[in-house]
Each structure stands twice: as C-alpha cells, then as structure tokens.
C-alpha cells in the first residue's frame, strides 16, 4: 500500500486512447510506445482500471539528450468502470506499443429484445 502510494507520485505521461462500445462490451486502445509486456501493469481495483507502463529504450552509454518531446519514461491513466462491465472477462493484448483492452458486459447488461404481448 505504502509502496503503491509512492509510485503514484512519480510523474507519468497520459497515453492517448480510443474507446468505443458495442452491444457486447467496450474496446480500448492505448498508445504506449516503448513499453514491453513485462513492464505493463494493468490493475482493476473495484471499479477503477489503471493502466501503467514503463518505457524501456535501448540507449547507448553516455548519451546526452539534445531534444526531448517525451521527457518522462512512464505512462499512467486511470478509468472509472461502470457496474455492467465484467472485469473478470478482461482481455489484454500488447502489440508494437499499442494496448488493446476488451471488457465484456455482464450477461444481464447486454441488450435484449423484449417481446411485447397482446394484452
């Protein structure tokens, strides 16, 4: 817990994301260039989803930066999920620095057609 809090204070970049929703769930794409699978940390705590990743760049010894648009080697972003999402069915895939997350909706939250009966 304590360690977690100190880590939270470390500055991090906000990765750009695309989020879309269809009838069965939510798909999220996040750009995390430089983050490998072993340095990606996905966490669901209650209804909070945290995406965190450390960049790992191959840098030659003694390199001095002359121009830096990416100045922090870390990404972090949190999202609030809603109840109808089933966090047990979370699929994650990281490919060339792009994270794809698929969160299914719980069965009861999926749209159903309701038959109207003659009355």
């Amino acid at each position: 817990m304590n360690q977690d809090q100190t880590r939270r204070e470390e500055p991090a970049l906000l990765p750009p994301v695309d989020v879309f929703e269809d009838s069965t769930g939510i798909t999220l794409y996040a750009d995390l260039p430089g983050v490998s699978k072993d340095r990606l940390n996905l966490q669901v705590d209650g209804e909070t989803l945290t995406i965190e990743g450390e960049m790992n760049l191959a840098m030659p010894q003694g390199m001095e930066a002359t121009h830096a648009e990416v100045s922090v080697p870390r990404f972090r972003r949190t999202f609030s999920l809603s109840k109808e999402l089933d966090t047990d069915k979370l699929q994650a895939e990281l490919k060339q620095g792009v994270l794809k997350l698929r969160i299914q909706k719980a069965e009861h939250a999926k749209p159903r057609k309701i038959a109207v009966q003659d009355g």
Binding site: L14, V17, S23, D31, V35, G97, V98
Partner: protein, 145 residues
C-alpha cells in the same frame, strides 16, 4: 447513456493541461522544429560516436515506415490507420485521441555524420535510428611529442 463510460481522470487531465500550456510557450530550436503536436513525438540524443533518434510511433508495421537521410536532413514518414469501427456499425465512440492518418517529420542533423552508417530498429512501437559520426569528427587524444 449520455456520457462516456470512461470519464477521464481529473488529475491526469489537469496534468495534461499544464503540460500543454507549458509546451505552448516553448521556444522551437529550429525552423523545422515542430515542437508540439507533431506525430510521432521525437527524442534526439548523441554520444561522441553517434546520434540517436527515437520516434514514438506505436502500432506501425515496420515495413511501411519510410526513413530517408538526405543532405543532412532525416525524414520519417508513414501512415497509421484508424482502428475505430465504421460509422454504420452498432458501435459508439466515446474517446478518440489517438493519431490516425499520414505523418511526416524531419530532423536537421549536424554535418559530421556518416550517411552510410545508419541503423534503424522498430521495437515496442519505438523507431530507433542510430547514425554514426564520421571518423574524422570523433574526438581523439592528441599525443604531445
């Protein structure tokens, strides 16, 4: 549902805002120095032996990235396809921040580089280009006789 299911983190948003304001006042070092809003973001560094360029371009097929070095100007171009679903499908877009489309960025390099000693690697969504300095330009220790 009226609002996004993924509302943005307020503190992260403030953080981003602060960064953007900061960047807006930043001085661009070169006429080609697109300091902000350029895609992909670039970092440049150097050692006595080489110049290292890092382009943060996630999700590309390395075969489609075009890297050219011409008269001391390095250019990186390509295209990133949108991954959003088509409009007619039964899907709604809540957040759309990721870059999509053609991109082109150039870096003016110093003139002590060897155009025949360029290496480019693409790993975890980062394009890393390493250009060696010319032998004559490397620092040498001079013996006193």
């Amino acid at each position: 549902m009226e609002f996004s299911l993924f509302p943005r983190d307020v503190f992260a948003e403030l953080d981003r805002l602060q960064r953007e304001v900061q960047q807006a006042f930043e001085f661009s070092p070169s006429i080609r120095g697109v300091g902000r809003r350029g895609y992909p973001a670039l970092n440049v560094g150097g050692t006595h032996q080489s110049v290292e360029i890092y382009a943060f371009a996630a999700g590309l097929d390395p075969a489609t990235i075009d890297v050219k070095l011409e008269k001391g100007v390095l250019s990186i171009s390509g295209e990133r396809k949108a991954q959003l679903p088509a409009v007619n499908e039964k899907a709604s877009v809540h957040v759309n921040e990721r870059f999509a489309g053609r991109f082109h960025r150039v870096v003016t390099l110093t003139d002590d580089l060897d155009p025949n000693a360029v290496q480019a690697h693409y790993r975890d969504g980062v394009l890393h280009i390493s250009i060696k300095r010319e032998e004559a330009a490397k620092p040498r220790k001079i013996d006193i006789q």
